[in-house]
Every structure is written in structure tokens, then in C-alpha cells.
Chain length 191, copies 2
Amino acid sequence: MAMSVRTLCLGVLSRGPASGYEIRKQCEEGPFRCFFDAGFGSIYPALRKLVQDGLIVGKEEAQVSKPDKIVYRLTDLGWQAFLESLTELPGADRLKSDFVFMMFFADYIDPEHLGKVIEKRLAWYREEIARMRACAADMADKSESPLGESFALGYGLAVYQAAERYLKDNRDALIGSVAARRRQTTVEAAE
Amino acid sequence: MAMSVRTLCLGVLSRGPASGYEIRKQCEEGPFRCFFDAGFGSIYPALRKLVQDGLIVGKEEAQVSKPDKIVYRLTDLGWQAFLESLTELPGADRLKSDFVFMMFFADYIDPEHLGKVIEKRLAWYREEIARMRACAADMADKSESPLGESFALGYGLAVYQAAERYLKDNRDALIGSVAARRRQTTVEAAE
DNA sequence: CGTCGCATGTAACCAGTTACATGATTAA
DNA sequence: TTAATCATGTAACTGGTTACATGCGACG
């Protein structure tokens, strides 16, 4: 299965009709947040393509004190394509982390800056974890909420918590060691 | 800091001279493996660009019973650029996971296929964890190995282990529930 | 005698990002 | 009146992937 903005849109629409703007919102805020990202610049063209291919249909809806919006929903063909995509094998995960790249070269980073960077990441993780917890609580309220959604959310939560814990537990040792090594090399250079 | 193949090459070369081919190998096998990925099609052009910009220099080296290779190393300017890139703030991580996308819609997946997919992912995690452990052991042998490298490796290990554990602990419940719900809806449809 | 590993590269392609354009309404 | 939110979209660009081209030596 090649996860692209295209399949992402099908997935979001399988949960109910939505406009392009709302799809974007769900990527930013909903349970999707941690795994997917797509900007307007990729969503709108994808939606148009999906309409062309007959996988979705759009209906313009007027709103009070808001611009009109085009609400899309899956067609039978769209449902078929979506369900079929779920029978394939998922491709490999791809993680691109500037942060880990940086940590990899921590020895070259000023300990003070290093501390700041890790602190910031830690704060970010905590925010994300809180958001996910809130999302999980929301889900628990609704009975008959999809099993997959809570499984995926739990998965993300487990991973984020592990990352948070690792950073919390190892940050001081790393920063301390880097600082110590720096002092040492400074002394050596002076001799 | 915008992590790109360009900065990736600088990072790899900061650990010692290497050819384009060797850089690729390190991305595939070394401690970089879990965080970065780049093919020849992006590495070779990046290297040429870096030479043009004066950040690295290449020297052709003959080898016995192997094709010649071009070994690159950082120039002073290259070191400067690399170190400076480490003073910036890292961008947000981007994870693209077909697997989590699929799990999100587990309710629509045939339980048998679901089991197979999760099993495969679990096996993959175990392989990766073993590889990382071996890599960590290698590092421990060498004294004076960079602190950042083991920190980054430990971080990856922590995350992968958490993912593995979550999958192991929750897989049966998920598959069971999906199967049960399917049976139920089948019965309801029959009525 | 085939094919795998080493080694370098190019060209076409594609997906997605960024920046821009438009415009109404609402809250500070 | 300024900024923010809702809402849709386009055009240019960038970065990276894929597939191809080339060639030698080793191994089975």
C-alpha cells in the first residue's frame, strides 16, 4: 500500500464526509496528527483527482456567516478502492528526524545549547502526550468507536512516552559528559 | 537546521573520509540506519554540489580487484558549515507510517490478514532491535566512542522496544475484537 | 556463464512544499 | 482597523525516487 495524500483523503472520508479544509484540520488536530501530515497544496489537488477518478463526489454547501464549502464523500467505487488498499502490505515506515541527527553529533554541540534543544523536545513530547490522552478520553466516551483508532492512538502514545522517558532519564548524563569532555579537551589544548 | 541529503553527507564525513558508495552503506547498515535514508540518486548529486561549494574535496583512490573510488573528506569550510548547522534548532520530526495508517482502519481489515501484517511488523522490529543491540555492543568496545552516537542509538532502541512491546501486548486483543465485531455484524445482517 | 558486489553517475519523473491570490466574516 | 478563522485554489519550486547506463572482478 502506497500511503499518499490520496489514500489519506480516502481514509479520512471513510470516517464521514468532509471538506478539504476539514481534512486538513483533522490531520492537524485529530487522532491522525502524529502520523500524517498534508498541506492544502497537496490535499486540494488530490481531492480533485479523486473526483475525476470517481472515487469521491463533492457537494457545495452554503454556511451561515462562513464561506461556502465543498463537502466530499466516498462513492461505492471509493469505498472499494479504500478497502482494497487495506488488503495490501504496508510499506516500511519512514522517519526523518532532525533531532536525532543532531543528538548523534552531540559531542560537537555546546552543552548549553544541547540542553535547550533537549528541553524543548521534552516539552513538545509532553504536549503531544497530553493531546493524545485527551483524544483517547474523547474516544472512550463514545461507545462503538473504532477499535483501530484506539489501537493506533495507543501505539503512538506508547512510542511517545518511551521517547519522553528516555530523554528525561538520559539527558543529564549526556549533557554532563559532553561538558566534561569539552573541559578536558580545553585543558589538553592549553598544555 | 534543515536535514537533507546534503547535511547527511556532511555528518557522515565528519566521522571520517568516505566514498559515495560507503556513505550509502552507512545509511543502510550503520548506526544511521533507523533515522536516515538516501539512495545513490540523491547522494552523488549532493556530493558534487558540496565539492562545488568547497565544503568537501574528493580524491580518486585505486583499489585492488575493485573499481576505483572517490574518497571525500570535509574541508575547513565544510567543518565550519557542519558545526554551524548544529547550532540551529532542529525541525519537527516527520513520521510517515503506512502501518499505523492501516491499523487505524483495522476494523475494515480481515482479521487473518491483520494478524499477518502485525506479525510481520513485530518480526521486523525484533530484527532491528537485534541489529541495534549489536551496534551498541560494537560501540562499547571502542573507548572514546562519541557520546552522541550511543545516546542516539539508545533513543532509537527505547522507541523500537516500546513499539515492539505495545504490538506484542495488544495484538491479540485487537484481532480478537475485530473478529468478534465482524461475526456480530454478519449475524445482524443475516437477521 | 551468469549474477552478485563494488563503484559512479544521469535523466525523467513525481510527490509534496511554499508562497501566493482571493474573499468573506468575526473578534480584539 | 487589524488580525484571525474559514475556505478554495494555483504555480513554481524542490527534493528525492526510480530506472537506466556502464564496467570490472569474484564466486559458484
